[in-house]
């Protein structure tokens, strides 16, 4: 049985109780409320609430009387607070994620997505193949005059360098050869390519600068990295070559980038 709190009482009674006015009648002694209780508990046949057949609580004598100084255990405005708590609980329930989302295994992709990705990959491969084909064609066009010149040199037995320090080779052709040489480590699977470019370098008057195992020469080398020297590896020695250097008819075309022990 929940008793109404002070704030749930009508304002005149509440004020009367809170002010402690002894002239006011407390709610449990209000004759109107007593009459309402009797009407609610009665079954309409004139039997009072104290009847033995009608009382759901058994004998009336067993029901203790409410002491006149009893006040509600609930604080003022308990209905509003309870409603607020229920609403908050409902919001918390809504915020709870579906546990199956977390524990259920992810669904496999559909066949359409799988084949779509496969078709996209195939198409990308096809496009890349076309681009590689175009690049190789362009390289072939660039190398064709160089190869013709090398063949001519082999036939006549004269080197283009004989015509002068710069020879007949334009500078961009020499640089193209050097760039081609830089690509060689990636093209080691094609030894014929390496064998073909060697005579071309010689025909163009290009000479590789020997680096690994040599002493560091600042005139022809650039120090890119350093490693600590050991007993087997004296200081100032080139350990590794990062980029090959070239001399063109004795002049420096490009310095070698090397790793030096210090």
């Amino acid at each position: 049985m929940i008793l109404p709190s002070d704030s749930d009482l009508p304002s005149d009674r509440n004020e009367g109780q809170s002010s402690g006015n002894p002239g006011e009648t407390p709610w449990w002694e209000d004759p109107d409320l007593s009459a309402d209780d009797e009407n609610e508990s009665g079954d309409g046949d004139g039997t009072g609430p104290g009847g033995e057949e009608d009382s759901p609580f058994g004998d009336e004598d067993e029901i203790p009387d409410i002491p006149p100084n009893l006040t509600s255990m609930a604080g003022p405005g308990w209905r509003r607070e309870l409603g607020k708590e229920i609403l908050e609980s409902l919001r918390d329930l809504e915020a709870i994620e579906d546990p199956d989302d977390e524990f259920a295994p992810p669904e496999p992709p559909d066949l359409f997505t799988f084949f779509g990705e496969l078709a996209a990959l195939r198409n990308e491969l096809r496009h890349q193949g076309q681009r590689s084909h175009q690049t190789l064609n362009q390289l072939d066009k660039t190398l064709a005059p160089l190869l013709r010149k090398a063949a001519l040199t082999d036939q006549t037995g004269t080197s283009p360098s004989a015509s002068g320090p710069s020879g007949d080779w334009p500078a961009e052709h020499r640089l193209a050869l050097v760039s081609l040489w830089d690509l060689l480590p990636q093209a080691t699977a094609v030894p014929a390519f390496e064998a073909a470019i060697g005579p071309l370098l010689a025909a163009a008057g290009l000479v590789r600068i020997p680096a690994v195992g040599q002493s560091f020469d600042p005139a022809t080398m650039t120090r890119a990295e350093t490693v600590p020297a050991t007993k087997k590896l004296p200081a100032g020695q080139v350990v590794r070559e990062i980029q090959t250097g070239f001399l063109c008819h004795g002049h420096l075309l490009r310095p070698a980038r090397v790793v030096v022990s210090v």
Binding site: D110, F112, A120
Partner: protein, 101 residues
Amino acid sequence: MNLSCPFCRKKVPPGHSRRCRHCGCEVASLRTITTAAADSIRLAIEALQEGRDRDAHDFAYEAWGLRHSREAAAIGLIAASCLGDPIEIPRWIRRRREVVV
């Protein structure tokens, strides 16, 4: 169902072309899958109309496996609701959320 090229995302018009006319990507297999999924959805609708809820659910699941689509999710949810399956109903709701969102 609409078909978009998986490579260039352009819409592929209905017809019998095997490749996307924008990028040349092959779309014949995707078209076949889409047609099969549409057939499964049609069979699921027919089964629902005839009261064969279990068959409708199976056809909807088949269509969903072929291609995740709103139609397959909707038919699957209806079939699962008709069956009163407490496990499949939330699954179809989740599947439908996946394609709607």
